[in-house]
């Protein structure tokens, strides 16, 4: 049973002002209804004025996705009633969108290269935001701060074959948008998805309201399972719209009038057409994720996995390029594996980490001043300080203060002797050929020395010690 998935992605463009008025888009922490004017409130008589930057951002995306920009595109009104929609119509684009026919390259579930086709991309305005009052109140509250934020709606062909593919596509698209600097990935609700899902031969179901992009795989997995189970049981999948309930991880049917919508699109008489196809040639695109990944492998000798991880976020990639000169391979491992893991654990952003500190850490590791294990400790101490906003101590200072410097082996001889003496059974096991026993003993010594010793050197000293003591 083949799974067929197509997506509609609504991306909030990172302009300074709204799509049709000069109200600031920077409303995230502000009081409700403080980023509004006659235009975005839909006051009688107000008229829209198109934001040049929103069109430029749309064109940048169109070029990056290899799309064809139409010679003429126009704005249309989509008419429907909802309390968050100030004018009772949304200004969007209908039969003449900004751009059509693009592609995004991803990997399929077997790791092979795959093309996801993009149907169209068009500009439209975000509605306001409804707050549902807790406690079963009989009304809604509206905040129009979001009303008029520019959205780019990107529609794909039904080319994805699994929820995992859809996730990889979205990751890739999001990375491209971040590289293009048209999208702020940290903004809540900045990327919202509607998905069309069907099992081949059955009716298509639209899942709306996937407001976090992490929810997409969850919503799709639930929906695919639901549909497959229905088909297995011999039931018929209904063609319908369902809503994703983020908290419960399920989709529910939204039966009713919404199914019978007639949006009565018509050309917006308040806005002239766009003739911008000839501007595409002048757009300078930055190096995009795929090209940068290839370059990382070529220039720094990074593994495919490391290169993909490092280029998955432009800021991480920039960071890597700042520290790579110390030792590209060492830097790749430390940034892509260790640092990224520690950042995720702390829910920290790469921008909070001073590159100079990581350069110093890599240097300490490279010349052997500290062991890998001590390096991790230094990194953790460093990040804990950064995350709490304390002044960031340099790695050298941390090594000095905590006494984490790698020490010559003979300094540990007394500790090794004590460990050997305290674990006769392990010593016996090692002598009878159980190599694992040596690891245990080395581990005990590492614990006592707080990681300052190089484990390889320590193995030598411990095994030597057992031989000597045994004589």
């Amino acid at each position: 049973m083949k799974t067929i998935i197509g997506l509609e992605i609504h991306v909030q463009l990172a302009t300074a002002t709204k799509l049709f008025c000069g109200c600031s888009t920077d409303y995230q922490d502000d009081e409700p209804n403080t980023h509004c004017c006659p235009v975005c409130l839909g006051l009688p008589g107000a008229l829209p004025r198109l934001n040049r930057k929103a069109v430029e951002y749309g064109l940048r995306v169109a070029k990056a996705l290899d799309m064809r920009v139409l010679e003429e595109s126009t704005f249309a009104r989509k008419n429907y009633f909802y309390p968050d929609l100030a004018k009772a119509y949304q200004v969007t684009q209908d039969d003449k969108p900004l751009a059509v026919e693009g592609i995004v390259e991803i990997e399929d579930d077997e790791g092979h290269e795959k093309i996801i086709r993009i149907t169209r991309a068009h500009l439209e305005e975000d509605p306001g935001r409804l707050v549902h009052v807790a406690g079963g109140s009989k009304y809604s509250l509206v905040d129009y701060n979001r009303s008029g934020i520019p959205l780019l709606e990107i529609v794909t062909e039904p080319d994805m074959r699994s929820p995992q593919e859809a996730r990889r596509f979205l990751n890739k698209l999001r990375t491209i948008l971040e590289y293009l600097e048209v999208f702020d990935g940290d903004r809540e609700g900045g990327l919202r998805v509607d998905a069309n899902i069907s099992i081949e031969g059955s009716a298509r179901v639209e899942v709306k309201n996937i407001s976090s992009y992490k929810g997409v795989e969850k919503a799709l997995t639930f929906e695919v399972t639901r549909q497959r189970n229905m088909i297995r049981r011999g039931q018929t999948v209904a063609r319908e719209t369902r809503h994703f309930m983020e908290g419960r991880g399920i989709t529910t049917s939204s039966r009713g009038k919404e199914e019978a919508h007639d949006y009565r699109y018509f050309p917006d008489p308040d806005l002239g057409p766009l003739h911008v196809a000839d501007r595409v040639a002048d757009i300078d695109l930055p190096e995009l994720p795929t090209a940068r990944k290839d370059r990382f492998m070529e220039q720094y000798g990074a593994s495919a996995n490391h290169a993909r991880t490092l280029t998955g976020d432009p800021r991480l990639a920039d960071f890597y390029e700042e520290v790579a000169h110390v030792d590209p391979a060492l830097a790749a491992t430390w940034v892509a594996d260790t640092l990224l893991g520690e950042l995720n654990y702390r829910d920290m952003n790469i921008t909070a980490v001073p590159p100079g500190h990581i350069i110093e850490l890599l240097e300490l590791l490279k010349i052997g001043t500290i062991t890998d294990r001590a390096g991790v400790q230094v990194l953790r101490t460093l990040l804990d300080a950064c995350v709490e906003g304390r002044p960031c101590e340099t790695p050298a200072a941390i090594v000095e203060r905590e006494g984490l410097g790698k020490t010559a082996g003979d300094e540990f001889t007394p500790i090794v002797r004590a460990v050997v003496a305290a674990n006769p059974q392990a010593v016996e096991d090692y002598r009878s050929g159980k190599e694992g026993a040596l690891n245990f003993l080395v581990g005990q010594v590492m614990k006592e020395t707080r990681g300052r010793a190089d484990p390889r050197e320590l193995r030598k000293i411990v095994s030597e010690s057992i031989r000597v003591d045994g004589v």
């Binding site: 109200c23 003429e72 509250l141 129009y144 009038k257």
Partner: protein, 89 residues
């Protein structure tokens, strides 16, 4: 021929209440008016909107917004800086 049930459907799309008493007269008038519109069907081709100038833009520079009091001033009811609206299901 427009029936009363067609008008009910349109009234739902337009979110406009019509009373039972008005319905027969509306239906009668609509049919007369649509009949009068029907000459338009013989016009050749599909028209484009009256074209304004292309590529009319505003620069992406923030302008002052209305103070919150002014945003709320004309609203029927407000709560904590929000405007109250009917519930949605």
């Amino acid at each position: 021929m427009i029936t009363e049930s067609d008008i009910e459907h349109i009234a739902e799309l337009a979110d406009i209440g019509i009373s039972r008493d008005e319905m027969p007269e509306f239906a009668h008038q609509f049919n007369a008016i649509l009949e009068y519109f029907s000459i338009i069907e013989s016009v050749e081709g599909i028209g484009a909107p009256a074209a304004g100038a292309a590529n009319v833009f505003r620069e992406d520079e923030p302008r002052p917004c209305l103070p919150q009091e002014a945003v709320l001033a004309n609203a029927g009811s407000t709560e904590g800086g929000f405007i109250k609206a009917p519930r949605v299901m």
